[in-house]
């Protein structure tokens, strides 16, 4: 099974860049030729271009939701999002992009798109390259969660082979 892990975020917008830091840490730790790790400072249709051709995509991104405490990490499926939004009105959403691709006969959209959402109190609106203390703490936790997920995937695969 080929997996792509993408840290999604903006490197110059404070806590919004947390997904990128998680991806960088994973890149240091994951030694599996079937797993590619990259960063994406984009969304929607460009994001889809980056995950196409893989069996599974793991996205690490920030979320804001009044029911999730800041600093919490949620493992979500792409289907859990009833709406995907950003400040950016010049794009379509990732679920829409995937649906579009499938409708046009694209068979290489990953079957499994999992999102690790790190909850922020609000979207940062101040430029900066550093994470806040609170959000910094989520980096090792998220890394561990994804490492175990990769281990599970590997186990599943072995069982499937039996």
């Amino acid at each position: 099974m080929r997996t792509i892990i993408l840290g999604v975020g903006n490197p110059i917008l404070g806590d919004d860049g947390v997904g990128l830091k998680v991806a960088r840490e994973l890149k240091r730790r994951v030694k599996n030729p079937d797993v590619d790790i990259d960063e994406a400072a984009t969304g929607g249709i460009n994001l889809m271009d980056q995950i196409i051709g893989y069996d599974k995509a793991i996205l690490i991104d920030t979320i804001t939701n009044k029911d999730v405490l800041p600093g919490e990490i949620r493992r979500l499926s792409i289907d859990d999002f009833s709406s995907f939004h950003s400040f950016n009105p010049h794009d379509i959403s990732l679920p829409e992009a995937c649906k579009l691709a499938r409708q046009l006969g694209e068979t290489r959209v990953p079957r499994d798109i999992t999102v690790f959402g790190i909850s922020l109190e609000r979207m940062p609106c101040e430029f900066g390259e550093e994470l806040s203390d609170e959000i910094s703490k989520t980096v090792p936790k998220t890394v561990d969660m994804i490492m175990s997920e990769l281990d599970e995937d590997k186990k599943d695969l072995v069982e499937d082979d039996d």
Partner: protein, 485 residues
């Protein structure tokens, strides 16, 4: 009074908020569009190495990284007193055409087009690219995807990376073009020209042959008689990458023409208490509030602004289409906000033709792509982003570190006009306190035509911008809230 509130699941703070104030008669008195603003960019840039600016600024916005990249690179050319070799300028412009190709295709087919192709009153769930494909056919969908990807690919070949280019350097570019890459780009641009022609034909069939749409385009709520601004070449033809800033008046006469570095002499920014957004205006006229006409310094940029501010397109097919637009809609200038969509497709055709010219230029494979830089100083770089004139201005210290940075982005240039268009669209939909249920989309259509991008870097799992409309009664109390989620 009834309040309707539906919360979006995520990115609550990303709301665009429209506040509509009603008067004693229940008619619209005023409407304001508020958008989240990013702060502290100037401070963020201070003390950074000048040559990092093209990379840093391309991160401001997930939508137009290429435009920021080259506005920054051109500001550095100016600040280091260096002129790039001709091949470098051509490589930059070719890449820039790739950016226009993918950006304009995305807007027409994914964002603006659905209102026309699927229909402005169709349910929101159908007014999207999937609805367009359902109507126009799967094959059209495949062509859309293919050519948008070609635009991206051209940009990636020249820029080193698809979304955030790394090629621009003061005095030139870091990467030339190999012979096999030239052939690849030639094949793609050839196909793109045909696709642009097809898109204009589609616009003809779907929009111009529909009397209702033409009526809507010409209707009052979607008309603004502002000044128009855009870059032009030596023959006053539209240019995206370089030239002089030209401003034309309500009769399409030249009002101003100046090099980018003089922008502070001609443009000033007004601050409104209710918005973080600044409202640029022409100094010579002054700020007289959110109104149009020759006595108001408000101007428009972007596809229609550019076409109005110029006297034609520099390539043959696009120029023909340019003439047809003005013949059809009653001569220059055209003031209909919805004509932005048509202008955008004419620019798409121009971008494909211009890219074809550039890639066939023997100079394009030259190895002479960078000139040595001089002493650091102050510089201004101006380009046309897909959505309008973009200005970068840096002051460097003697070590080449950034002392001051100022940016005026395209959507800021359009801030006054967008606010007025939103207000006028709202006026048409609210009469005597009765709110027409189609208000949200009609208001969205008004600002979507400008293809606004709120100079914001947030990427992430995007969709349409969450929008909230609050309607206030004469006592300034909220009487209705509508959201598009």
């Amino acid at each position: 009074m009834k309040t309707v509130t539906i919360d979006p699941i995520t990115r609550l703070e990303g709301h665009g908020k429209i506040s509509i104030f009603l008067n004693d008669h229940g008619d619209v008195e005023n409407a304001y569009l508020q958008i989240p603003e990013l702060r502290g960019f100037e401070r963020f840039c201070q003390g950074r190495r000048a040559e990092d600016m093209p990379q840093i600024t391309s991160r401001i916005c997930g939508v137009c990284p290429v435009a920021h990249h080259f506005a920054a690179t051109k500001a550095l050319d100016d600040a280091f007193h260096v002129k790039p070799p001709s091949a470098a300028s051509k490589l930059r412009e070719l890449m820039y055409c790739g950016y226009f190709i993918y950006d304009h295709i995305l807007h027409f087919y994914f964002l603006g087009g659905p209102d026309f192709v699927v229909g402005p009153d169709a349910p929101a769930g159908e007014r999207n690219i999937l609805g367009v494909i359902q109507k126009a056919g799967l094959d059209v969908g495949k062509e859309v995807i293919k050519h948008r990807a070609y635009g991206q690919k051209i940009t990636a070949i020249l820029g080193g990376k698809a979304t955030h280019p790394v090629c621009g350097l003061p005095g030139g570019v870091s990467k030339g073009l190999a012979k096999d890459e030239v052939q690849e780009i030639k094949d793609m641009t050839k196909s793109c020209v045909d696709f642009a022609k097809f898109s204009l034909k589609l616009f003809d069939d779907v929009v111009l042959k529909n009397k209702n749409y033409v009526g809507m385009i010409k209707s009052d709520p979607y008309n603004l008689e502002t000044y128009n601004m855009g870059l032009v070449d030596a023959h006053n033809k539209v240019n995206f990458y370089d030239g002089l800033i030209r401003v034309t008046d309500q009769k399409a006469e030249e009002f101003l023409k100046f090099p980018g570095k003089d922008y502070t002499k001609h443009v000033s920014e007004h601050v409104e208490p209710w918005s973080y957004m600044k409202f640029p205006y022409l100094k010579k006229i002054g700020w007289h509030g959110l109104k149009d006409g020759k006595d108001s310094g408000v101007y428009r940029v972007g596809p229609l602004g550019r076409l109005n501010a110029a006297e034609g397109m520099a390539t043959p097919l696009a120029d023909k289409e340019y003439k047809r637009l003005y013949e059809t809609l009653g001569g220059r200038p055209v003031n209909s906000t919805l004509a932005y969509h048509w202008a955008r497709l004419i620019e798409l055709l121009y971008a494909t033709e211009r890219a074809t010219e550039l890639v066939n230029d023997p100079d394009i494979t030259s190895k002479n792509i960078r000139n040595p830089v001089g002493e650091p100083g102050e510089g201004v770089g101006v380009v046309e982003a897909a959505r309008g004139t973009l200005i970068h201005h840096y002051k460097l210290d003697k070590n080449g570190l950034v002392e001051k940075a100022n940016l005026i982005v395209a959507t800021t240039n359009n801030a006054g006009a967008i606010t007025m268009s939103v207000r006028d669209a709202a006026k048409g939909m609210i009469k005597k306190g009765e709110v027409n249920s189609g208000i949200l989309n009609k208001v969205e259509m008004a600002f979507r035509a400008y293809d606004p991008c709120f100079a914001c870097a947030t990427h992430a799992l995007p969709g349409g911008m969450p929008l909230e409309v609050n309607i206030y009664d004469k006592n300034k109390k909220i009487c209705k809230t509508i959201k598009n989620v």
